[in-house]
C-alpha cells in the first residue's frame, strides 16, 4: 500500500534522518519510534506529501491518506459537529453520519460547542474523528496518544484495530510510552541523521 525506498530529507543541507526504506501492506502497522528530534514528524510529513524528499522514492497506492499531526487542523470558531461536517463536505465522503462518529469518539456532550472551549484531549478526539470521516485506507498518525486520558488511549487502540482489521494500513510515530498491540506490526527505529 505504501512503500518507501531510501528516502532522505535534508534541512539546511543536513539529512534529518538516516535513509528510510520500508514496505507497508494492507492490515499492517508501521510503528516509527525514536528519540525526540530524530525526525519522526518530518518523516510522517514527507510520507504525507507535505514535504518533498531530497532523494528516494515514495510509492503510495492507497488512493488517499488521512493525517493527524501536532497541529490538528480544527477550527476554533466552529463547533465539533461543524468541523466534521466541513471535512465531510470538503472530501465528499458521506457514508457515516457525523453525529454517530462524534459519539464513537466520546464527544457527544460537547458536539455543539465551539472547538476553542475544548480541552487538548477533546481536540485530539475531534481530530481522530476526522480519520473516520475521511474513510482513507492509509492513516498517518503523529503521536496520536499525546494529551489523551487512559480511555482515549484505548479509543485510539480500538480505532486502530478496527482500521487494520478492515484492511487499512497505518504509519504511527511515537516516542514509545505506549505501543499499540497488533500482530502485523513492523517496528522501525528512526535514527537521527545529524552527524555527531
Amino acid at each position: 500500500m505504501l512503500s518507501a525506498s531510501q528516502i532522505v530529507f535534508e534541512r539546511y543541507f543536513e539529512p534529518v534522518f538516516l535513509p528510510v526504506s520500508f514496505k507497508l501492506r494492507r492490515g499492517e502497522l508501521l510503528l516509527v519510534t525514536g528519540a525526540n528530534g530524530c525526525g519522526k514528524t518530518t518523516l510522517i510529513r514527507v510520507l504525507a506529501g507535505i514535504l518533498h524528499p531530497t532523494s528516494g522514492k515514495i510509492d503510495c497506492q492507497a488512493g488517499g491518506m488521512a493525517y493527524v499531526g501536532h497541529y490538528l487542523g480544527i477550527k476554533d470558531d466552529l463547533s465539533v459537529l461543524e468541523n466534521l461536517r466541513f471535512i465531510r463536505d470538503f472530501l465528499g465522503t458521506s457514508s457515516r453520519g457525523c453525529k454517530e462518529l462524534i459519539k464513537h469518539v466520546g464527544l457527544t456532550r460537547v458536539a455543539e460547542q465551539q472547538a476553542r472551549t475544548l480541552s487538548a484531549g477533546q481536540r485530539k478526539r475531534c481530530a481522530l474523528a476526522r480519520l473516520l470521516v475521511s474513510e482513507s485506507k492509509l492513516w498517518l498518525l503523529d503521536e496520536p496518544y499525546s494529551n489523551l486520558d487512559q480511555e482515549g488511549v484505548e479509543l485510539v487502540d480500538k480505532m486502530l484495530n478496527d482500521h487494520l482489521e478492515s484492511g487499512g494500513a497505518c504509519v504511527l510515530a511515537t516516542h514509545g510510552a505506549h505501543r499499540p498491540q497488533w500482530a502485523g506490526t513492523q517496528d522501525y527505529h528512526l535514527l537521527s541523521g545529524a552527524t555527531v
Partner: protein
C-alpha cells in the same frame, strides 16, 4: 487522490470551503468590521484635514477613496491564509488531494466577499462625503467592483509567500503595494475622466482585462507560494 477515490467533487469542495470561510468570518465579526471601519475613518478624515472646499474634495475624491480601499484590503489580507496555516488546516488541504489552486481560489473569493464587497457597497456613502459628482459615481462603483477582486487576487500571492514568516504582515505590504499601483492609476483615471465628461471605457476595459488575467493566474501563483511556505 483521497477525495477523488471517495467520490468527492471539486465543486463540492469549493463550495464547502467557501461556506466554511464565510461562516468563520461571521463568527469573527470584529475582525471583519475593522477594515471597513478603517476605510470609513480614513476617508472621513480627509475633509477635516484638507478643509471642506467642495471643488478640491471632488478633485481628490477618486484618489482618496481608492487609496483607502487599498489600505483596508491590505489590512484584511493577512487573515486570508494565516489561521489555516497556523492550525494545520492547510496541511490537511494538501493531503486531501484537492488541487491547492482550487482551495486558494475558494479562499480568495471568500476574502473578497468579506473584505472587498463591503467597500463596493459603501462607496456611494464615501463618494457623498467626498463630494464626488453624481455622474461619476457609477464609474467609481464600477472601478471598485472590478478592482477590489484584483486586490484580493494579487494580495493572495503575497500572503502565500509571507505566511510562514513571523512578521510577514510588514513584508506583505511592501510586496503588494507596488503591484497595486497600476490598478490605482487606472481606476482613478477612469473616475477622473468621467468627472471631466471624457471617455472612460478604455480604463474600465483595462481593469476588466486585469481582473480576467489575475483570476486566471493568481490562484496558481498563490498555490505555488503556499507550497513553498509549507515546506
Amino acid at each position: 487522490m483521497n477525495a477523488e477515490a471517495a467520490g468527492g467533487s471539486l465543486s463540492g469542495a469549493f463550495f464547502a470551503l467557501l461556506r466554511r470561510d464565510l461562516l468563520l468570518a461571521f463568527r469573527r465579526r470584529t475582525e471583519l468590521l475593522f477594515p471597513v471601519i478603517f476605510l470609513l475613518v480614513v476617508v472621513s478624515l480627509f475633509p477635516l484635514g484638507i478643509g471642506p472646499g467642495p471643488q478640491l474634495l471632488a478633485r481628490i475624491a477618486p484618489g482618496v477613496i481608492w487609496i483607502a480601499a487599498l489600505l483596508a484590503t491590505v489590512i484584511s489580507l493577512d487573515a486570508l491564509f494565516r489561521s489555516d496555516f497556523e492550525d494545520g488546516t492547510l496541511e490537511q488541504f494538501v493531503i486531501s488531494g484537492h488541487p491547492l489552486t482550487l482551495i486558494a481560489l475558494a479562499k480568495i473569493v471568500a476574502h473578497w466577499l468579506v473584505a472587498g464587497l463591503p467597500i463596493v457597497l459603501l462607496s456611494p456613502l464615501l463618494a457623498l462625503w467626498m463630494n464626488l459628482p453624481m455622474e461619476s459615481l457609477g464609474v467609481m462603483i464600477l472601478t471598485l467592483a472590478l478592482g477590489t477582486p484584483i486586490l484580493s487576487l494579487i494580495g493572495s500571492i503575497g500572503v502565500g509567500l509571507t505566511i510562514s514568516l513571523k512578521r510577514g504582515g510588514q513584508l506583505l505590504s511592501l510586496l503588494v503595494f507596488p503591484l497595486y499601483v497600476p490598478i490605482l492609476i487606472i481606476a482613478t483615471a477612469a473616475v477622473m475622466a468621467a468627472s471631466d465628461s471624457l471617455p472612460y471605457t478604455q480604463f474600465l476595459g483595462l481593469l476588466l482585462a486585469g481582473l480576467i488575467t489575475s483570476v486566471t493566474l493568481a490562484p496558481f501563483a498563490a498555490a505555488a507560494a503556499l507550497k513553498i511556505s509549507l515546506s
